[in-house]
């Protein structure tokens, strides 16, 4: 695995799938910036930069968790409902009082870790396909939410709302939270034994198991981390909205959007290849496209169409590159 990446890096100057997204981001910034400037606005003004980074934060935190699930050859469709649930857990536990902030955060982390554990156990011990397992768990949470809540519930004290609204210079606190989560996961992938085992598991489950990796344990841990990320995103959204919202996750489309961001970032859907940095690029790219269309006051539905086309086109380009490299490698071997 490691020699494979090293070799491809030697052969291919700079542009493989994971940094292709940065090129796309640069193009989007230049083209989008020019279009907005022609329209008489500015994409790089302080207010639009702030709202751009803020938009990136929520999706980004979820997408970082989704990245490792996909890297491990799995995926998590329950994140949207975990977000809604944890936003409610946070807001209801806090109930407007400053003293309850810490217990609420702990409760959110416990709930999301438990859901991740269930996902992981269903996938590894009962061998249910990840798609069905996380979809089923998502349905369970959805049923609970719809049964118990008609609208927003709980409230968040002002002290906790700082997370959603404060900023350091032009950088929102929430974006720093996203950066911290991304950095932590990046380090876990690069620097720990678990990280290497995760890549091996995603690359080929059987080979990893036969090489002595405890793949079940790796997958369970991965799903716990993925759910924890969704829980953190739920905390952020609770602080942003001031209350828990039973439909915020599903309406934001965080399940499919986070998968789209991961794949945009060059992580292969089948697992084993990719990384967190690419996902950060993918999230920023989606946020920039959003920002440009907002500035141009383009219809939000049209925006969705463009987003769909961009995602498919990007992955098509990656697939093309991958084929070219493998062809070249085959030619070299022959």
């Amino acid at each position: 695995m490691s020699t494979g990446t090293a070799r491809s890096r030697l052969r291919l100057p700079q542009l493989d799938a994971t940094n292709g997204v940065w090129a796309a981001l640069a193009v989007a910034l230049i083209v989008g910036g020019t279009l907005v400037a022609l329209d008489g606005g500015s994409l790089f003004s302080e207010s639009s930069t702030i709202s751009l980074l803020q938009r990136a934060a929520g999706l980004g935190i979820v997408a970082v968790g989704q990245t490792i699930a996909i890297l491990a050859g799995s995926l998590d469709l329950s994140v949207a409902y975990v977000i809604s649930l944890t936003s409610l857990v946070a807001a209801e536990t806090m109930a407007g009082s400053d003293g309850m902030v810490l217990p609420a955060i702990l409760a959110v982390l416990a709930v999301s870790a438990a859901i991740g554990l269930v996902n992981g156990l269903l996938i590894t011990k009962l061998r249910i396909n990840a798609f069905i397992a996380t979809l089923g768990v998502g349905l369970l949470i959805k049923g609970y939410l719809e049964q118990g809540y008609a609208g927003p519930a709980g409230s968040v004290p002002t002290s906790f709302q700082h997370l959603g609204y404060d900023r350091l210079g032009p950088v929102p606190l929430s974006f720093l939270l996203f950066a911290a989560v991304a950095a932590a996961v990046w380090f876990t992938l690069r620097g720990t034994r678990y990280g290497h085992h995760l890549i091996a598991t995603g690359g080929d489950l059987d080979v990893a198991r036969l090489s002595g990796v405890r793949t079940d344990r790796v997958l369970i841990r991965t799903h716990v981390i993925c759910s924890l990320c969704a829980g953190i995103a739920g905390l952020y959204l609770a602080s942003r909205l001031g209350a828990g919202a039973p439909r915020v996750g599903a309406e934001g489309g965080y399940d499919l959007e986070s998968i789209a961001a991961v794949v945009l970032g060059g992580t292969v859907l089948a697992g084993g290849k990719g990384g967190v940095t690419g996902t950060v690029g993918g999230v920023l790219l989606l946020a920039v496209i959003d920002g440009v269309f907002n500035q141009l006051e383009v219809d939000s539905f049209f925006k969705q169409m463009v987003r769909g086309v961009v995602i498919v086109a990007a992955v098509a380009v990656y697939a093309l590159r991958l084929r070219r490299t493998s062809d070249r490698r085959k030619a070299a071997v022959a």
Binding site: L126, R127, L139, K142, G143, V263, G308
Partner: protein
């Protein structure tokens, strides 16, 4: 590794020979779903004794028809190793397009129906070509198509559906042939369903079906054996698109025109297919199982409704049953 190989070859061989692997308990078998279905049907019968009167039963089948048709379409895609996440948005798009183009004018009905079927095929073609020629994973292709279709429909209508369906269009979902002995009214939807079911089973028994299973089981081996994998997979997407169009025509007859018609149907259809013993990743399972899975899901919803479980909680029960059914299926395979 050796056990993996053994389990992955035998059912495929069985499926290839037996036209879909119907015997036994393993993955791809329809026995588990049949048992669940029978249990649910008995429960429904106890709760609602007149359920087995022909008219009531036919009305139930009529309601189940769109989901069963969608599941049949989704089956072709899944058994070839792909996903189609665009069907829900395609159903919505079809209904909204129909309402806007017909706009209450009965004369427009038939041309619009032809157009809808063509549109379904076109979307299937795009999905298939992008997936096979550009080698984009079908999950991403059809996710992109979903975003494009939802966005396009909203943009085209300006945020709320316009126009109205003609009574002739709604006939397929609402009416039937009157005066049939014993049955009373025979709904058109049930006839359409029967037609789709026969076609689907025949397709899977033909050479096409066998190659499709082979492609889903091991694309590389199928290609080396001379199968035109790209063409076969594209045909599967065409079938799914067409099934979505047919389901949309029926659903348009049932209810009103709204953006919610097709919402979430892609996941429901995939769930139904998996419930029917079809394995995600391809190569195993029968189309009859997929359709029975859809019927089972619809029966489950009916039962929950009869038991007075609120709509909200029913999605939780649905999730639980699906997890249990799939878990039992996979545990059986291992032992």
């Amino acid at each position: 590794m050796s056990t993996e190989l053994a389990t992955s070859t035998t059912p495929a061989v069985k499926a290839g020979l037996g036209g879909g692997g119907r015997s036994g308990w393993g993955a791809g078998s329809i026995r588990p779903v049949l048992i669940i279905l029978v249990l649910l049907l008995v429960a429904v019968g106890i709760r609602q004794p007149d359920f087995y009167d022909p008219p009531v039963l036919l009305a139930f089948l009529k309601r189940a028809a769109p989901l069963i048709i969608l599941a049949a379409g989704q089956y072709f895609v899944i058994v070839a190793g792909d996903f189609d996440l665009s069907v829900g948005s395609l159903v919505t798009a079809e209904v909204v397009i129909a309402a806007r183009l017909i706009d209450g004018d009965p004369a427009a009905t038939w041309p619009v129906i032809a157009l809808l079927l063509g549109f379904g095929l076109l979307i299937g073609l795009v999905n298939g070509v992008v997936t096979t020629l550009l080698q984009v994973p079908s999950f991403i292709t059809t996710l992109g198509m979903y975003l494009v279709l939802v966005g396009a429909v909203y943009t085209w209508t300006g945020g709320s559906p316009r126009g109205a369906l003609s009574e002739e269009f709604r006939m397929f979902g609402r009416r039937g042939i009157d005066g049939v002995p014993v049955l009373g009214q025979l709904p058109y939807a049930v006839l359409v369903l029967a037609g789709v079911a026969v076609l689907a089973v025949l397709a899977m028994r033909s050479d096409f079906g066998k190659v499709l299973l082979a492609v889903g089981d091991n694309p590389r081996a199928a290609r080396l054996a001379g199968a035109r994998t790209a063409r076969i997979r594209t045909i599967a997407f065409l079938a799914s698109g067409l099934a979505a169009a047919v389901a949309a025509i029926l659903l348009g007859g049932f209810g009103g025109v709204s953006f919610q018609v097709g919402q979430g149907l892609e996941f429901t259809a995939i769930t139904a297919v998996v419930l029917g013993g079809v394995v995600l990743g391809g190569g195993r399972g029968s189309v009859a199982g997929a359709m029975l899975g859809a019927l089972t899901l619809q029966t489950l919803l009916t039962l929950l409704n009869l038991l007075g479980v609120s709509g909200a909680l029913s999605s939780a029960v649905q999730g639980l049953i699906i997890l249990a059914a799939v878990a039992v299926g996979t545990l059986r395979r291992r032992t």
